[in-house]
């Protein structure tokens, strides 16, 4: 489970839609608390979006 979580937030889509925005924020915003809050927000949005995407793929039986 730990490994799955690690892969979920570190590889594939996470590289572009989770890690990149966080590292961008980290560079641009100096206030650590704001960064932490925004990072959490991005994490929640990313998680929800990919779950919706996965659900849509299964529902539509893609890429069959």
């Amino acid at each position: 489970m730990k490994e799955a979580k690690k892969q979920f937030y570190n590889e594939g889509f996470a590289t572009t839609f989770y890690k990149k925005p966080i590292s961008y924020l980290d560079k641009k915003i100096k206030n650590k608390k704001v960064v932490k809050f925004l990072s959490l927000l991005i994490k929640i949005i990313y998680t929800l979006l990919v779950i919706i995407l996965a659900g849509y793929i299964l529902y539509k039986k893609l890429p069959i």
Binding site: E3, Q7, E11, F13, T16, V50, A54, K61, P63, I64
Partner: protein, 500 residues
């Protein structure tokens, strides 16, 4: 004329029953591939990972080469640069019908070279068979714990063998790896191949490895345990990889995938070469379906009772204690094996051909006969379920009405073909989404390229499946022989490491 009339009319009357059968077959064909959607989602996020190996194993690295003087040196250099102890691997090259300096270059780089001259038995499988015969004679096959198979145009990342060793050390017997492309952005043909290999990884290999099933071996970049070649290499068909996959699955072997072991492969850049290769793949695919399909089908229902070959028949199994846990494990293994057989059978089944036949018989021939009797009433020129046809129906309202007779018969036949073309155009555009998905999700590993190139490759990507479909149809009727694929890329592993 009257006889023709009777035939057309009776076919026309059978339309409703045939349509029901057509729909039922459609449901069955969709149902047997439904697990692919689950694979797709699983592969999107997860892959099997392996712990660092505790032991270093001894390997033989086998390369079949035919006039590959331009690339073989680069492959052997990339092997010699591995972070794996060099005394634990030996490079074997079979210089197969070579008329250039392949053997000389390979030997100068430290490989053990066997030269073979046989213009009759020309496939890569025969070259490997000859190589393993010589390994057995000179070294004994079991003096190496496992064997890698590579094509001469491959290049290995520095930690390739170490990463494969991690999987081997965990007890995996057959392992495939991440196939990247040397010349991704050389032209659109190379890019379609490059995306195809990545699609296989994302839609098949990753999910199957997590589920402990058997993924398909794809020609090169794989490792297998020595027990598989204990009695020599047996796979000499046009696509030896598919035959090996089917045999391994039938015997209950897992074929796993190591995502962290990455190698690079050169893809064709000429349409003529690509068509030739795809025709060979299609023919080999059909041969594998004909040879192994029945065994895989039997396996689904009878488990391992009727297997064609058995790599482990001399091995004595320890008597295990009869316990509920063991019983449960046996049941799980039986389900796994049967599902892997089913999965491989589905992969080998020429579904596109079955679809073509059912469309041709029901939608073109019988529907035309039906229209001959009933005429065509209010049929939209843009019928169909794709996004494109839905859009066209909203913009243009063109309905066709033709009274019964020969005119209706002819027009409905033409309409069926037109609807098929429309469906394919729609599918072409929706298939582009796969290329977009792959370019995003594999961004970190794909060669950096311009946005313009990416757009071009997204647009041209669907041609890969179109070519595959038509080469399958052609392969059914053509006699296909093995011809070498030229490799000319001068890219080295240092160029790739510097470029990424």
């Amino acid at each position: 004329m009257q006889i023709i009339n009777i035939i057309i009319t009776s076919l026309g009357f059978s339309y409703n029953a045939c349509k029901d059968f057509y729909d039922l077959l459609g449901v069955i064909l969709s149902a047997i591939v439904i697990h692919k959607a689950f694979y797709f989602v699983l592969g999107m996020f997860f892959t099997r990972k392996f712990k660092k190996a505790k032991n270093y194993h001894k390997y033989g690295i086998c390369i079949a080469a035919r006039n590959e003087e331009k690339v073989i040196g680069n492959l052997i250099d990339s092997i010699n640069k591995q972070d794996y102890p060099s005394e634990l691997y030996t490079i074997f090259v079979v210089a197969d019908n070579c008329t250039d300096n392949t053997a000389k270059i390979a030997a100068s780089k430290g490989a053990i070279v066997y030269e073979r001259h046989d213009e009759v038995h020309k496939t890569k499988g025969f070259a490997l068979q000859y190589l393993f015969k010589n390994i057995e004679k000179d070294y004994k096959t079991d003096s190496f714990e496992g064997y890698f198979i590579f094509d001469a145009d491959n290049l290995l990342k520095k930690d390739y063998i170490s990463k494969m060793n991690d999987a081997f050390d965990e007890g995996c017997k057959i392992i495939t790896s991440y196939r990247n492309t040397k010349n991704f952005d050389e032209n659109w043909i190379a890019s379609t191949y490059a995306l195809h290999w990545i699609r296989s990884i994302r839609t098949n290999h990753r999910a199957r490895s997590i589920l402990r099933l058997a993924t398909n071996i794809q020609g090169t970049g794989f490792l297998f345990s020595n027990e598989i070649v204990k009695n020599g290499w047996k796979y000499t068909s046009l696509t030896e990889d598919r035959a090996l996959t089917a045999d391994a699955v039938a015997q209950g072997y897992q074929i796993t995938y190591q995502d962290e072991a990455e190698f690079f492969d050169e893809q064709p850049i000429s349409l003529k070469v690509a068509l030739r290769q795809r025709l060979r793949w299609s023919k080999g695919h059909l041969q594998a379906f004909a040879e192994s399909g029945p065994y895989l089908f039997i396996n689904i229902f009878f488990g391992k009772k009727f297997i064609k070959t058995n790599w482990n028949k001399e091995q004595k199994y320890e008597k295990r204690k009869k316990s509920y846990k063991q019983l449960l494990l046996n049941i799980v293994e039986s389900i796994r094996h049967r599902f892997a057989s089913f999965d491989t059978l589905v992969q080998l089944t020429p579904i596109s051909f079955i679809n073509l036949v059912r469309w041709l018989i029901v939608s073109v021939i019988i529907y035309s006969c039906y229209s001959y009797i009933n005429g065509i009433a209010d049929v939209s020129l843009f019928s169909g379920g794709s996004f494109l046809t839905k859009f066209l129906r909203k913009v243009f309202v063109i309905n066709i009405n033709i009274p019964s007779g020969y005119k209706a018969l002819l027009v409905s036949g033409l309409l069926a073909i037109w609807f098929r073309i429309l469906y394919r155009i729609g599918a072409y555009f929706s298939n582009m989404l796969m290329a977009i998905y792959l370019l995003i999700i594999e961004e970190a590993r794909i060669k950096k390229m311009s946005f313009k190139n990416k757009l071009l490759f997204i647009f041209t990507w669907p041609t890969f499946d179109i070519i595959g479909r038509y080469t399958t149809y052609a392969a059914l009727f053509m006699d296909v022989t093995w011809k070498p694929i030229p490799h000319e890329s001068k890219i080295t592993i240092d160029d790739i490491n510097g470029g990424n």
